[in-house]
């Protein structure tokens, strides 16, 4: 086997030329689908992700309804052709786990008590995957929730930090993910720094872990700006939406 190229060069540049604390390019567009109550399309590096939101609507099946608040249910799904080896359609164990942790993250911000017996259904479709699809999906879904006018404390933003060649690196790309020594996806409520998703695998010292959390949180705040821009653009051009929904969104954004 030939020697693999190091993940960091002598100047601490990464194989795709990024600095260790540099995000891949991110683009977000809100309101891209017609049937869904809210939607967003996101490109993050080579990731292409669609998110759609339906609800609050009557929860099905009925025995799952919570008489005191809304359920927040996410379904994260990868298209069969989104990865280099075709993925069998339908949920697998990985996507079930990701759906669960994303559902839990959004349960924190949605004002669930306002909508008892309903569900807020979030659908994330990964159309093309590089690395970091759960962060990308969650970040897109957050915009879709706002686009749907779902009352929330704030948007949620997600970004991972990893470790490669002994250094912490923000937002690992595919090869960094495969060959790195750690991966830590995190999601945060930017205004309050409430951590609502946190997973980690690999090896990090206590000090590294703290630094990695800080790197992810700071990056989330950068991405937050892109999310809000997408929502502003959406409501600047649209006139079809009922006024009260716009106000809800504006209010949320001004509040920060």
């Amino acid at each position: 086997m030939e020697l693999e190229k190091p993940l960091l060069d002598e100047n601490k540049r990464r194989i795709d030329g990024r600095a260790v604390d540099e995000l891949r390019p991110i683009k977000i567009e809100a309101g891209v689908l017609n049937r869904a109550d809210g939607s967003a399309y996101l490109e993050w590096g080579e990731n292409k992700v669609l998110a759609a939101v339906y609800g609050p609507r009557e929860a099905h099946p009925r025995h799952r309804q919570d008489p005191t608040r809304a359920l927040v249910q996410c379904r994260y799904n990868m298209a069969a052709f989104s990865v280099s080896d075709r993925k069998r359609p339908g949920p697998d164990r990985r996507s079930v786990e990701i759906s669960k942790v994303i559902s839990e993250a959004f349960s924190f911000v949605v004002f669930r008590e306002q909508f008892p017996r309903t569900s807020v259904d979030i659908f994330i479709e990964v159309l093309q995957a590089e690395a970091g699809t759960r962060c990308a999906g969650l970040t897109a879904a957050s915009v879709a929730l706002a686009d749907a006018g779902i009352p929330m404390r704030d948007l949620v933003v997600s970004c991972a930090t990893g470790k490669a060649d002994g250094e912490l690196i923000l937002d690992p790309g595919k090869e960094e993910d495969n060959r790195g020594q750690a991966d830590m996806p995190l999601a945060v409520v930017p205004r309050t720094e409430d951590i609502v998703l946190l997973q980690m695998d690999g090896h990090l010292t206590q000090e590294e872990l703290k630094k990695a959390m800080r790197m992810s949180i700071d990056a989330c705040k950068e991405i937050y700006v892109i999310q809000k821009d997408a929502l502003r653009k959406r409501y600047a051009v649209t006139t079809e939406e009922p006024v009260e929904v716009q106000e809800t969104i504006d209010t949320q954004i001004k509040e920060e």
Partner: protein, 256 residues
Amino acid sequence: MGGVIPELTRNHIHRLASAGKRADSRAPDEFRPLKIEKDFVKSAEGSARVHLGKTDVLVGIKMNQGEPYPDTPNKGVLITSAELIPMASPKFESGPPRENAIELARVVDRGIRETETVDMEKLCVEPGEKVWLMFLDLHILDYDGNLFDACSFGALGALTNTVVPASRFNGEDFKLEVEHYPVSITSVKIGSSIFQDPSLDEEMVADARLTVAIDENGNITAMQKGLSGSFTFDEVERVIELARIRGNEIRETIKG
């Protein structure tokens, strides 16, 4: 495709139809705006995203090597799947493919397989041992009617930009050749009117549906009648004649 439509909308569409008119002011044989983005997904061997009015589908092709069917030892294998993901419509539930998705996948599959759109013998690697498996996945993103045509256009579009990844198996990548361009044109009957390219509302009100695929030589290559109404002999004739005309126009858009 399942679902209920408000009585008011139903009556409105029927009333218009009795005068040969449509709710969106289209002519009876007029398609909605069609936009095909080829090579939308880099992780796929071929792909096309189709916007047909507000209907939005993404078709991707993945290829791998495997065993041929015993009765066609020197031919590649086509496997078509459709996912009516719940993102696309409040009526699509997650779960195993239902009869609508199965019918859709099978009609698109036959439209390619039976018409020799692609010469499947060129996808043979070692007769009886190893052939290319071609996975065609229909991913419905936004559902506003006429999935048969949108998916069929997407499948053809994806085939035109498919590169067989032979280099993964010590060969040389080569472009798939599309031999024929059968174009699927779907019409519905509402009362005594025939409308091409039904919108979702029209589909839900329609008595009967007829999909006709016609190739560049004017041959009919596939038909599929749906819904619980009937067609007369003359109506079938008329649907086919109109499909032939429209097909020539759309074929150029797909080749485009």
